[in-house]
Structures are given as structure tokens and as C-alpha cells.
């Protein structure tokens, strides 16, 4: 039996970064907003108290902050002709659950995409000719421009108190910043973080090679900061338990440390936890609300005038499919948009090993403490004759010395035994890792759909992921890895080991939680699931937030753009939709 609840103006599915942003913006309009989160309430002082937070067994290896796969997971295969099998344990990516979502355990490396990233197809065709884009790639323009997003990037920078050095202020290149970034309307609200020895070594080597290193933009506070909502953050203490962990110190910008203290006080906001949304209900081309189930097994129908899916990409896509909204993409015919253009990230790197006379002290770290170069990202370099498009940034991030996860050893070290133990001891404090964080270009065969065999705890088919790196990804990553190696060799160690992109894609080792696509945006219902305002083409009172909107994944971390797209959508909803509900772009 389904209990029908009183109608709300707005219902939000999922309460991570994007859910909190939507709620904060729409409660300002006086709307009655309800957020439904499948997990439970959490707060810094109780759930990740300072004296409990640095616990590798509990948080990283027993997944306390990550989603519970016994309820819902996906199946995976590399190619359509293989049988997909369930992702039984987390590995390659670590989506969150509970209030705050994955934003609780993110690093805080907060980027803007390049202006040309938003014209991935037209820009490259114009510069290099249509043949430069491999025929297997299904990349496309976003339908939104950097100029349109810039004010919203700025809003997010200020909400979070991002620490960094501007490289381009209103078109004027700034000393010490990223000279390739799009023009910014204002400097970063906080100065860069203080640097430890390893990123400084990287920056010196990069400078010697003629590159222009700059401090990575960071949502770990470089000093005390109060944001425009009146919420205060404390200086980061470089604890080294940031990425994959929660901050016990109110120093990492998350929904809980930047939005919730203000939002939770608003009378027109309600949060329900333990509310697992199973589907969006529709009638006559409109969403009427959502159906959810509680841990006690009770089912509710929540009617609402507007529905926002903020559940992270695979869950957003899954909800569309379970609700029968839109047509599921078929890679053989190319028809259907839901589940199309799933993409990921191409990671590679190198370790530089030093003698005893140089100590790295890797435990003095933070999620976004590092130095980067952007010479080889996007179209910042000439691709003529290289055989690929796109790129990535190269960086030295000193995130951690957590000893279960972090024991760099030379590649010829035995897998286990005394040789391994001695190599761990010799290298733990004397190794610097640098990495390339590369784009992943959407390709015809990569997609999401529904699995014919496996079911979730609610009896629904599991989402099925078919993914492997494209030829372009592989060639691009190999080029970046060579640049990484050159810098590594210039860093003065006694040995360099290179780790190229692992092909085929493997669901097991952690790579990044930067899954993208599946409900992409575009300029027409023929090439996308949403318009440039994240509004469903099929159901005009349904909005989809998150990296699922990305038509392909540029060579940066996603959250700055995820947030900017959300603010861009909400600005238009506030400006136009609320007065005049309906499609914000005519199909």
C-alpha cells in the first residue's frame, strides 16, 4: 500500500552537493522544498569527530562513508558482447550516501573547465578539420558557454572559499596563476595553501622545463573564512585524511560546512532521511511526484510541482530508466538518449624515488594541496599531427601518507615478503608521485542501460555499465604520460617509475569518482536528455543535476562545473520558470 502525502512545491531526490544547492536557492524564493535522502543524517561533531576521523580501516576499507551496494549496485562489462557482472564491492569509484553525499569525502580540487571544453566538437573541427575527431567518438558541444557559466563558477568559489591564485582576471593574465584558464570576474576568495616540499620540487622542475606551474585550486581552507551565507570554515590543519574521508575540522567545503547551517534554519525546508526514491511518476508529460520507500518498508507517494534529481549520475540515469522517462540509448542503432555518452577519466602517473637525504613526510597533506601545470590540457597545445584531441592537467598533489593505502615501492619489488617489507620501509618517506588527470571522450559503445539478469533489493533491474577507454583516450593519455615522465626525470630523484593508463578499463582499482554522462545536456532533444538549463526535454518540470549532464569529460575534476551548471539552471528557474512554468528552451 502506498501512502499519498500532501503536495509540495519542490521535491529533491538525493541530498549531496547539488541537492543542497537546489534547496538553498529555491527556499530563497519562498517555495516549500522537501529533500529526500536515502541515507541518514550526519554531522561533523558526532559522525566524524576530530579524534575519530583518521581511521583508514573504518572509512576507506570498510566503506563507512560510501554507498551500500547490498541495496543497489550496477553490473559492468567492457564491451557489449560480454556478459556484465555485478560490481559486488566498490573499487574504481566511491560514490557516497547519507546527508552530504560524495561531497563529504571529496578532495576539494575545484576547477573550472576551459572555454573551449564547452565546444568540444565545433572547436576541434574548426581548428583541425572534421577528420581530427575519431569516428568512434560521440562527443558534442554542451549548449552552454563558459561566459554563461562564469558568474556561477564565481558563486561556488565564494560559497566554498576556494584557495588559489587567479591566472586570468577579466582577460588580464596574472603572475603565478593558471595562464590558460578562462577569464575570471574576481580573484579566488582565499590565497593558495602553503606548500610542502614535494609540490615545490614538482613546480621547480616544471619551471625549468619552461612550463608555468601554479597552486591547485583548493576547497581546503588556507585560512579562516566566512561565506556569503554567513557560515564559517576553519583553517585546514593538513591532516592528510581528506580525500575519501570526512573533515572533522570544518576546514573542507562541503554541503554541511557551507550550506546546511543556513538552509536547515529556513522554515520552508524539510529533509527526510531514510527515503529511497524508486521512481518519478508522470502523467501527460509532467512529473506528478516521486515514490519512495523507507527502511521500515513503507511506501509513500510524494506529489510535487517540480522534481529535481540530484542522486549522482548512475542513480539519476537509473531513475529515468526505472520511470520510463525518455528512450534508452541503443549503441547499435544510435537511437535513444538516456544512458548515452557515459565517460570517465584517464589517469596515469610516475613515482620519483629519493635517497634518505630527502624526506617527503607524506602525512603532512591535504586533499587539494598541490602544484599543477595546464600546458597539456584541452586545446592549450597544438594537436596537429598528434592523432588525438583533448588532454589533461599534470600535478603533484600531496594528499596523504595513510599507511594501508600509501606504500609506493619500485616496480621490480616482490609482491610480498621480506623484499616488499624492506622496500616499503625504504621508500615510504622518500617518494613523490605525480600524475596526469586526463579527459575521457565519449564513445559509441560506452553506455548505461538495464541488466537482464541481476536485480536490486527493491526488485528492480540493476543498471548496466558498458565501458572501455576510447582510442583517443589511450593515445591522449600516452602523450600526457610522456610529459609526466619528463617532469619526473627533472625532479632529481634516483629512480623514476612510470604507470601508464591501465587498459582495458578495470572496475577494481580506485581511479576517480568522476563518472560523467548518461543524461547529457545539449541543444536539441535529438542529441541530449536535458536542455542547457538541466531541464528534461521530455518532462518540463523535471530537472537533472550533476556530472550526468556532461556530454564528455574534460581533463579536470568535475565538481566546480557540476555546481556552476546547477546555479546556472536555478538562476533561469528563478528568473523565468517560476513565473511561467514550461520548457525553458523550445525544442
Amino acid at each position: 500500500m502506498t501512502t499519498i502525502l500532501p503536495r509540495r512545491d519542490v521535491v529533491i531526490v538525493g541530498f549531496g552537493w547539488t541537492g543542497a544547492i537546489v534547496a538553498e536557492q529555491l527556499t530563497q524564493e519562498g517555495l516549500d522544498v522537501l529533500a529526500l535522502e536515502r541515507g541518514h543524517w550526519r554531522d561533523t561533531s558526532t559522525d566524524y569527530a576530530v579524534n575519530n576521523a583518521q581511521d583508514e580501516v573504518r572509512y576507506r576499507y570498510r566503506d563507512e562513508l560510501f554507498e551500500d551496494l547490498s541495496r543497489e549496485t550496477l553490473t559492468f562489462r567492457n564491451q557489449s558482447n560480454q556478459e556484465a557482472l555485478p560490481m559486488r564491492m566498490l573499487g574504481s569509484f566511491l560514490p557516497g550516501t547519507n546527508v552530504g553525499g560524495s561531497g563529504v569525502h571529496w578532495n576539494g580540487q575545484t576547477w573550472r573547465f576551459l572555454p573551449t571544453d564547452f565546444q568540444a566538437r565545433s572547436h576541434n573541427e574548426e581548428r583541425y578539420g572534421a577528420d581530427a575527431i575519431d569516428e568512434e567518438l560521440t562527443i558534442q558541444d554542451w549548449g552552454v558557454t563558459y561566459e554563461e557559466l562564469e558568474p556561477h563558477y564565481d558563486t561556488f568559489d565564494k560559497l566554498c572559499g576556494i584557495a588559489g591564485q587567479a591566472g586570468n582576471l577579466g582577460g588580464e593574465i596574472q603572475q603565478g596563476g593558471n595562464p590558460f584558464e578562462g577569464p575570471r570576474s574576481s580573484p579566488y576568495p582565499n590565497p593558495p595553501m602553503d606548500m610542502v616540499a614535494a609540490p615545490l620540487r614538482f613546480a621547480d622542475a616544471a619551471r625549468e622545463l619552461g612550463y608555468q606551474p601554479f597552486p591547485g585550486p583548493s576547497a581546503n581552507m588556507s585560512r579562516a573564512y566566512t561565506n556569503p551565507l554567513g557560515v564559517s570554515l576553519a583553517p585546514c590543519s593538513y591532516c592528510g585524511f581528506c580525500e575519501k574521508y570526512a573533515c572533522g575540522n570544518y576546514s573542507k567545503a562541503t554541503a554541511a560546512t557551507t550550506i546546511l547551517p543556513a538552509l536547515m534554519r529556513r522554515e520552508n525546508f524539510t529533509l527526510k532521511t531514510g527515503a529511497m526514491v524508486l521512481r518519478v511518476e508522470t502523467r501527460g508529460g509532467r512529473a506528478t511526484g516521486v515514490t519512495y520507500v523507507t527502511p521500515e518498508g513503507d511506501e509513500f507517494f510524494q506529489p510535487a510541482d517540480m522534481v529535481f534529481l540530484c542522486a549522482y549520475i548512475t542513480h539519476n540515469v537509473n531513475l529515468l530508466m526505472q520511470s520510463g522517462i525518455g528512450e534508452i540509448y541503443d549503441p547499435r542503432t544510435g537511437e535513444g538518449q538516456v544512458g548515452r555518452n557515459y565517460a570517465y577519466q584517464t589517469m596515469s602517473g610516475a613515482n620519483v624515488f629519493y635517497d634518505d637525504d630527502f624526506s617527503v613526510n607524506p602525512f603532512v597533506g591535504a586533499g587539494a594541496l598541490g602544484q599543477c601545470i595546464d600546458e597539456f590540457n584541452g586545446d592549450n597545445f597544438d594537436h596537429e599531427g598528434l592523432g588525438f584531441i583533448g588532454g589533461g592537467y599534470i600535478a603533484q598533489w600531496q594528499t596523504n601518507g595513510r599507511p594501508i593505502e600509501h606504500h609506493p615501492v619500485p616496480s621490480d619489488t616482490p609482491t610480498f615478503g621480506l623484499g616488499w617489507k624492506q622496500a616499503v620501509r625504504a621508500n615510504y618517506n622518500h617518494t613523490i608521485g605525480i600524475g596526469a588527470h586526463g579527459a575521457s571522450h565519449s564513445r559509441r559503445g560506452n553506455h548505461l542501460d538495464l541488466d537482464p539478469t541481476y536485480r536490486d533489493a527493491y526488485g528492480r533491474p540493476l543498471m548496466r555499465l558498458t565501458f572501455d577507454f576510447s582510442r583517443n583516450d589511450i593515445a591522449m593519455s600516452a602523450y600526457l604520460t610522456d610529459r609526466v615522465e619528463e617532469i619526473a626525470r627533472a625532479m632529481g630523484g634516483n629512480r623514476v617509475d612510470v604507470s601508464p593508463l591501465k587498459v582495458p578499463y578495470d572496475i577494481k582499482p580506485y581511479q576517480t569518482t568522476h563518472n560523467t554522462g548518461g543524461h547529457i545536456m545539449g541543444d536539441s532533444p535529438d542529441n541530449s536528455v536535458t536542455n542547457k538549463f538541466n531541464q528534461s526535454w521530455d518532462v518540463s518540470n523535471l530537472f537533472l543535476m550533476g556530472a550526468g549532464n556532461f556530454p564528455q569529460n574534460p581533463g579536470y575534476n568535475p565538481t566546480g562545473t557540476v555546481a556552476a551548471l546547477a546555479y546556472h539552471s536555478l538562476a533561469e528557474i528563478r528568473r523565468s520558470y517560476l513565473q511561467n512554468p514550461g520548457p525553458l528552451v523550445q525544442a
Partner: protein, 233 residues
Amino acid sequence: MQLTRRAFLAGVSTFALTAASAAREYRGGIPWEPGKAVPPPVYDPEQTFLTSEERAFVTAAVDRLIPADEYPSASELGVVDFIDHQLAGPFGRGDIYYMEGPFRDGLPTQGYQAQAPALLYRQAIADIRDGLAAAGQPDFIELPDDEKDTLLTRLSKGEGELSHTDGKTFFDTLWQNTQEGYFGDPVYGGNRNMEAWRMINFPGARYDYRPWIDHGGEAVILDPVSVGGRMVP
């Protein structure tokens, strides 16, 4: 050996460490209760899974994975206690893993496809011991060290079939759990007296490294602390 997941689960304590989250509604402010923090689910010597034969196997195996030198071996640091306790709890039962069938071997890129970890240990240990017995060889714990290493190496490469489970998945899980017990916080029963942290100079659960940001490549050496505090041996 016939062990179904259901029969296996019936034999294990169903003690759950995290309370099931109930549906709740929040309005009008941040809920807050004074003096409340959620402590780690610490080591409990009463909560064990392994039989004495299995414990002997695990002890012999982890001491080949991390043998003693001037620093302790895995078992000397409590890794066997750590693993035994972990297998008896939510990890061993696979509470938060997707454990529905059908089970298939899968491609190497498809990740873990075995039963819940405790059952994986039970089946793999039995298969290895049965295999050695059938070949007329001594039990694993009696093999010379180099033969133990050969067997572990073969498992790690996916060589040699076990009859009920996947040998490489078992090796990978055992090796991963050994590192967790050796290098993890001592509140979970391993890394006794934080010796593994002393070995590599990891200062443990300290919160504030700001005084050491500008270290200029000099080693920062601090006595380690646990999330359980400054433990005395």
C-alpha cells in the same frame, strides 16, 4: 565440501555494528545532541570466525606475506586477530556488498566475484589443504618457507585451480586484509603498539601538521598516536 551462503550465514553471529537507519524528518535547524560521537567499531576478542586449523593456516600465510626482520612479522603484530575479528563481522558477512547470484568467474576487469569474504576464506583454506593432502604433501603450515612462498605466488598469479572458489581472489583478499591489519589503527587488533607505524615513521591519528608544513625535506619524526589515544604496550 558443500557450503551454501545461507547455511554459512546461519552459523555466524548476526550482531550488526551499525544501527539500521530509520526514516526521519528534519526541520527548523540542525539536530544536535551534546556529548555524542560515534566511536570506531573496535576489536572484540570474543567475536571470532576461524577454526583453530584455519587460524593456523592464516598465521602461517600472513607471516610469509610480512615476515619478521628487525621489525615484527604480521602475526606478531596481531594481524591474525584482526582478520579473525573482521571475518566475524559485517565485512566477513559481506553486509554492504552485493551478494546476490548468479555467481560467475568473470573477466579480470570485472572485480570481486566470490562469495562473502568469510566464506571465501573458509572455502579457499579447505581447498588448499585438501589439494595438498590429495597430492600427498604436508599441510601448508608444515611446508618449508620457500614452498609456502611458491604456493602463495602461484595463487597470486591465478595459477592452479581451487575446487570451490577463486584462488587469486583469495590471495588478493588475504593480502589486502594483512596490510590492513599490519598498518591499520591498533583499535582493530592489529598493528600492536603501533610498531608498523614506527617502522615507516607514520605519526598516526594526529590532527594538526601545520608546524611541519615548511620542513624543507627534513624528516618529521613524531611518536605515533592511535584513534584510541596514546596506547601503552
